[in-house]
Symmetry: C2
Subunit: 376 residues, 2 copies
Amino acid sequence: MHGETRLGILGGGQLGRMLLQAGIDLNLYTLILDPDPEAPCKSLCNEFHVGSFADYNTVYTFGKKCDVVTIEIEHVNTEALLRLKQEGVRVFPEPEVIKIIQDKGLQKEFYRQHGIPTAAFRLLQNKMELPEHEDFLPAFQKLRTLGYDGRGVTRIASSADFAKGFEAPSVLEKLVDYEKELAVLVARNEKGEVSCFPVVELVFHPVHNLVDYLFAPANISAEISQQAQEIAEQVIQAFNMTGLLAVEMFLTKDGQILVNEAAPRPHNSGHHTFKANLTSQFEQHLRAILNLPLGNPQEHSAAVMLNLLGEPGFSGEAKYEGLQETLAVPGVSIHLYGKKITRPARKMGHVTITAGTVAEATQKATSIKEVIKVKA
Amino acid sequence: MHGETRLGILGGGQLGRMLLQAGIDLNLYTLILDPDPEAPCKSLCNEFHVGSFADYNTVYTFGKKCDVVTIEIEHVNTEALLRLKQEGVRVFPEPEVIKIIQDKGLQKEFYRQHGIPTAAFRLLQNKMELPEHEDFLPAFQKLRTLGYDGRGVTRIASSADFAKGFEAPSVLEKLVDYEKELAVLVARNEKGEVSCFPVVELVFHPVHNLVDYLFAPANISAEISQQAQEIAEQVIQAFNMTGLLAVEMFLTKDGQILVNEAAPRPHNSGHHTFKANLTSQFEQHLRAILNLPLGNPQEHSAAVMLNLLGEPGFSGEAKYEGLQETLAVPGVSIHLYGKKITRPARKMGHVTITAGTVAEATQKATSIKEVIKVKA
């Protein structure tokens, strides 16, 4: 079968690259669409097409060459995907799901409609409406569309912040007083088989809002862990989707779990699975969308994952410092994304530290973080 | 550093393909040389060159484009590699080592000279000499060069078999009455750091002499395991080589370990390491030849690996039967090599079964072997 499966991926960044890496095992014929002629996937696929995944005709024409189309980013043209689906191309995640998820307003309404616990929110057309919601502060204002990796989010603590509000349609989300941020990767194949990865814990960088540390498994009770997995399953079932879904959650100080947002694709919260779990998130996504039985997502090692971000103050051709020292630590592997150019806070790679316990891995991670740097 | 390392691999088959897969993590610029325009590596490298790795000029010209040159097969032009080395290209394993290993006669003499335990042998020019060695039978006659995957080996039990002897220079190796066949993968980097993978046990197919089952770890005593690893280290130190060395051994019925042969590259006896060890053999080889610290080779799971060979009686475009059933077994992954055409006993892929114990994995393996088939 697989010798002939033509898999198209919208987006050719690091997530696409790791999908291709896992896909080598499955004899796929791979096609990538990305606007950047130097995208990380460039030399690792059968066909690399330069073009915009947001453009109807580009996506449609690309999709017609494929048996199965998937995404590594949500900001794609869903109208083209809907037409492709109507014309018999298998599109996973389903375009209807992408359409909801790419609009944070629709996404929040979806959770409310399906009884999925999520922080209180209001929908705004522009920043002129902010004063009507002063009673709702402190809150985060999030652009409904095209936010990514911390962009498109601003904190509105009081009326003093109204001026920095976004002009475009947005979600005003009540600030959650949380203990931890958790994530659960859950996969579902066409047969409806569902499988959750163990819950992980994410620590975000306070300024650029990117994952700074990931701890796997999360340091939470068995009860909370089970609840988090049940909620993730509830979300994927509600979406009735095929593929991998990353569900980010808040664990509030009073022990409640609230869904923050979801991404219907491999996600930064699962990078460690390549090195610490029996099945990686990338293999799991491929199994799900190719309607293969899902793999065993169990972890075999505890892990900490660090994002390797471009160092502040450096832009230009990337140079990696401290690789020797980092790789000398037992249980440490690095994964670089093949990006020639670094910029402050650009995701350039990640480091996975496996160990018997998260505490042991964390100790190693803390010193590695001091040593490894991406400069120019 | 790695953004700029241009790694050339002589050979573009499944071993090269898995090296490329592991190399994605390290941002390498990769070049492949293979005579087959449809080789498994074709679409996974930066540059794919069609040409013979046995030809002096082809290898030399190819090597001049690289910073580091390695191999996935021994049958390469070592004269060209020696010249490349003199001209500053980093060639690992060293051409001098490849030269010894590609000639089974030189290889056996090397073991004898270095006090490495190996089966008794005699060197023959042609089959006319066989009668002089009747006292030495039963034995295996092995072609000194170009044998591969069981080709170039014939059993000479008595004078009745002389007619089927090889005409070319060969090694006549006394038959070893062995209990088990073992293998140890050992790596060494330029700094001289050495690291062994746990010992594995190989069961070969009685007819086509390819690995049928691999058990990891081997079911042997801690003492034998330690001895096997010590011998592997002795071999790599004697060769003074850089890279990964697969050392195949016999464990005789009286508890002796004899080195059978070695391969200075990733090897079929390490395919399970992608799924069952903290560092794969492919990552380890790359770390060694790029002079990075070696990774932790420890296993996190027990494993059985099955080669997926072309079914007898089928030649043509490969079709895979039983993938669904195979992948439905928890802990099972498949790895297909991207070969369009199957032939009887052609290596088309492998299956890795991980579990808590080898016994548990073996039970699963036995039923999987009945189900998964490569036909045409």
